[in-house]
Subunit: 258 residues, 6 copies
Amino acid sequence: MQSHQPDYFTTYTHLKLSRDEKGVLVAEFHNNGGPYIMNAAGHTEFVDAFNRIGQDRDNKIVIMTGASGSFIGDVDWATFGDVTDPIIWSRIHDEGLQVLENICNIRVPVIAAIEGKAHIHSDYALIASVIVAAETATFEDVGHFAVGVTPGDGIFTTWSYRAGPGRAEAFLLNPHPLPAQKAHEWGVVAEVVPHGKALTRARELANLYLKAPEVTRRNVRIHFIQPLKERIIKEVGYGLSLEGASSLDLAKSKRSKK
Amino acid sequence: MQSHQPDYFTTYTHLKLSRDEKGVLVAEFHNNGGPYIMNAAGHTEFVDAFNRIGQDRDNKIVIMTGASGSFIGDVDWATFGDVTDPIIWSRIHDEGLQVLENICNIRVPVIAAIEGKAHIHSDYALIASVIVAAETATFEDVGHFAVGVTPGDGIFTTWSYRAGPGRAEAFLLNPHPLPAQKAHEWGVVAEVVPHGKALTRARELANLYLKAPEVTRRNVRIHFIQPLKERIIKEVGYGLSLEGASSLDLAKSKRSKK
Amino acid sequence: MQSHQPDYFTTYTHLKLSRDEKGVLVAEFHNNGGPYIMNAAGHTEFVDAFNRIGQDRDNKIVIMTGASGSFIGDVDWATFGDVTDPIIWSRIHDEGLQVLENICNIRVPVIAAIEGKAHIHSDYALIASVIVAAETATFEDVGHFAVGVTPGDGIFTTWSYRAGPGRAEAFLLNPHPLPAQKAHEWGVVAEVVPHGKALTRARELANLYLKAPEVTRRNVRIHFIQPLKERIIKEVGYGLSLEGASSLDLAKSKRSKK
Amino acid sequence: MQSHQPDYFTTYTHLKLSRDEKGVLVAEFHNNGGPYIMNAAGHTEFVDAFNRIGQDRDNKIVIMTGASGSFIGDVDWATFGDVTDPIIWSRIHDEGLQVLENICNIRVPVIAAIEGKAHIHSDYALIASVIVAAETATFEDVGHFAVGVTPGDGIFTTWSYRAGPGRAEAFLLNPHPLPAQKAHEWGVVAEVVPHGKALTRARELANLYLKAPEVTRRNVRIHFIQPLKERIIKEVGYGLSLEGASSLDLAKSKRSKK
Amino acid sequence: MQSHQPDYFTTYTHLKLSRDEKGVLVAEFHNNGGPYIMNAAGHTEFVDAFNRIGQDRDNKIVIMTGASGSFIGDVDWATFGDVTDPIIWSRIHDEGLQVLENICNIRVPVIAAIEGKAHIHSDYALIASVIVAAETATFEDVGHFAVGVTPGDGIFTTWSYRAGPGRAEAFLLNPHPLPAQKAHEWGVVAEVVPHGKALTRARELANLYLKAPEVTRRNVRIHFIQPLKERIIKEVGYGLSLEGASSLDLAKSKRSKK
Amino acid sequence: MQSHQPDYFTTYTHLKLSRDEKGVLVAEFHNNGGPYIMNAAGHTEFVDAFNRIGQDRDNKIVIMTGASGSFIGDVDWATFGDVTDPIIWSRIHDEGLQVLENICNIRVPVIAAIEGKAHIHSDYALIASVIVAAETATFEDVGHFAVGVTPGDGIFTTWSYRAGPGRAEAFLLNPHPLPAQKAHEWGVVAEVVPHGKALTRARELANLYLKAPEVTRRNVRIHFIQPLKERIIKEVGYGLSLEGASSLDLAKSKRSKK
């Protein structure tokens, strides 16, 4: 049915897109095919990528995953440039909120398949309807409080929504790797599978969901994501502004220490 | 005190009502005294029944339960008629939201006593303040995604509210029986009791709650139910509309397969 | 830096305040240095105390704890006077909401260190970002339904927020001591530590958080507390009004029994 | 079509119901056919009446009006009994919110036709989609601040919603008759008509709306009322509790003056 | 600065895009350069167009206007195909909400310049920060209740937000042309200008706003649009579903009349 | 009754406090008794002042006004120091939100009496229940967009709430003096009085409101302010963060122009 491949499939440097004949799209974060480390180029292109994915009605199910046994392992803050420049932070603010809205607006079931480290932007995964994680996968936030920055980009909103606020606050204030099994006990991960099997299981679930007719599949996503979408829209813009001011103070305090 | 029995007690075919001298009302879903299978007649009359129950200030505590070792085991969609007729779906939409509002508006503590299958409209039970379930009881949603329909009638809103959204989404997209003990671990079921003892324990709790004076009992319910009531009113009307469109597509896809 | 001690440190009879050289403030509920039993004098002065704590930018981290191996063990309702007098309840209503808002408005990380009984106003502790509890600590609400009063003062809102509403409703309708470990499983308590070690561990966490720069620390609190602050402001005023009417009925029913 | 008259049409002492062959229901507040003065009996029966009206799918349009050239002119507080009795106020609270919810849940267009005084519970009229008022009609709230009671029963919520909060606050704190023309300028009244012509014009609008098919008519009401319904559910329960405490203080202050 | 013209400028059949050297983008609805009549092709492409406009940080101010002395004068429902097909309505639903979100997400000041008829999707204009209208311009909704369909696509949400709900409900239930001056009195139109001068005045305002620095301009839009964006996201998806069911009933009632 | 004057009456440099024997407190913004120009010292002390005013139950009515025929005429941004320092902006952010919350939490009717220029922080006045303005008074926002800064500190939230968002957006994007009469037509000003008579009329209203008993007076304020308080708490923190980033960009663009 989707024999031709849309042009946006080959547009992105850090998101590999492929779709099978049934319409199951796999979106894979990567860097030259290897594990992805968050960078500014990806931050910008994911906004467009998830928008295009969401608008393309040939996508029947979307699976989000990483490459080479990792989800997103770390962040390369340096690529973002001088985050104390208000123009640069304004871009981060706008993209940071928009990418989450665009994932919310993928109006078919979204499954996250997690191997290895989901240590940056695990919030992307938590906007999926269902998370399948390998038993060896771990969750952490290495990009915020651990380096002196307020975790305001959606990481709190999504973890608070799925794990409960008590767990989310402690998890973000004192970052340590959280095993997949623990994330399952917290209600965040739906299924824990053997190492290396996350994507396989996600494909099985996708095939199961495909039994439902088109509008059923679209509407179940619309219904389920609405409360989280509303929270993201209420909380994350402000969160990113608070994070921006925090980055400014971090830079200032580093300068003053020199 | 309530020696006379109000006339609405004998009005409903699928809800048996009885009240003891202390004002503990037991509302029992049934079909000719046996296990209840959801049908259109019940869907309509429960709207009125729960409204009357809520307005009758002689009801001091309300226990909701099923008959013959079941809560609600399945749904007989055929009784609802042609759900692709917009007039018929309009009725389902209106009743479907109104019945949940009416359970919310029972302004005394509501206890659900679950034996056997709570496989349809377990959302009714999740609007209770406290759920007591037999160890053999199971929860599932056999009437929506399993048969190709969007679960939009309150089942997501209530499970998301009480079990957390991560669990609710996976539970509804891939329906399997959830044992009472698991539902207890998820925070949905307050107490797991031996097989056949759910109603007995519910009555014990009712007697305990009766020690509080009238306004205390009424106001605790008002206070506790408010956040869920607000979510139901925000989410379920839209959910039912999404479910209606989904049913239409299901019917169309069935026709096209023939 | 904070060599001088602000005058408000010595203002309160039931809240002992001390601050180390790094700006970690310890606020300790007590009665003459011993375990604190909630009373009207404390209810009034905590409003001012937490406001002053929140406004004082020399407080870098706030730890809330009790004295002599207890958090708050009970309430002395008699000190509140005639709660059926609408003027007196109006004061309780206003103070009761304001104190919670003022704790929310402490714009640095707040840690609760719990030993012994958190049997009254554990909601104060649940507004902290992180709760550290001794393994021997217990949570309960002995001041509301157990004595015939609607639990409307924030106890439901905070427990519902952190433990989930199903657990909160059962917990408050049938009060029993909840061990710290259970509260940990529910996601309320972040860390369970040996008996007598709660404050020590809270100080360790405080020192960890102090590594983040000023604005990061302030903004993380602002971001994390926002959803709970909004719920408190939406729910607790009404809750306190419902509790007031309940108290009135309790008094009336006691008179009528005489 | 609706040749037979449902039994609830003749149930209410203070609400006369009649329906034409097209399904336009006219609900008329009255006292023995004359102008209605709000009393406890009406307060109770309107809850049931508007629920029945809303559930009856043979009602295609609902017109709410008064009798003998008045809407509701005053209130007879004495009929409500001892409002300082918490049980009695509990009933007023529950009914007061429920009646507004029930008017919101009339899922066909509702038109208010106002002649003379809408000086009590004009909030009933403001839940209509459209208000037609005679040029001689006036709006006021004579039952709250004018007699020393907090206007918490929906009068502020509805006026704030339709006239804006600045106007509503001043209107309720310093009650004076507001002419229909002024209410029109404020956006509250849709059409001002000659004296005695409000019902006539309401019937014309009803006939216009009847051109739309059933589901269109039902769904336009559902869509339009949702924001006000949500505000009522958020605000009016608390408002009524605040009004109850206010009544208690009024009674106390009257006693102390004696 | 923006000497090169981005490729999306020439992508759309019904939206002409041009930008001056200061970054003021004019987006003009049209049909072959003449007045635009809403059609399915435009409905689809506006989603993408406003997204691209919003993401392009070279747009410093956005002016939305129509062509040949009209804004959008009517709708050609026939181009949308069989709106009773659930797949087709699903597309209308998804596009209908997404286009409004995308206009909200244009994070620079948006000005609407209205000449002639804004008789379809005036909600697009009401998401602008400021509306300038020619004295001869009129507002109306000719595509919903006037033809038997529920106005659920944002037209109520935006008019209720800017004109107040009382006016919006009457305006949509009994559609008539509303002169620009009246819309100004209602607070919807900021400035009324002579016939043919709307775009000229919009450009003057744009130049005025350009005096503010980049982040100021972006952030003022973000701040001002947030409450309306939240309302749109809460209300319009449901509204469109209600409208879809209404369309189905309209088609059915037309068939039954034949 | 309040023969003694509380100590906080003499604490503030820019807010003169006086109270008559009936408990009517007049709070007067001033600078050495003359017209007040907003400065950093006032910004800080008003937080404490309005908190103290709100907590003091001897205040029965609060009137907020200016001195020497002005409300607040301008702002002296220089006194705030280097607003690009994140620590300094953090203070402005925290104070800016807290002062509005504290005015909301004055739980007795608040009346604003406006003479002359309300050109800075007219949001303070718009949190009053009722505004009385001299016919010569004018409203404007000279401190934000006019000088290149995002108006995020509550000025939009309050004007949008009381005047409607369409008027508020245009008013703030293109600042000009708005006469009191126009603000009256917009629903913001309750009463326009002759030049010099605002305070006199405010006192008359205060005496009128004093006829209501204590709890009635307190509860009417609690009920009326709740929706605005919720909006302030949802919107203004973010708004101030957006304003902070805007100030940073303004400073940067000024530097780059040199």
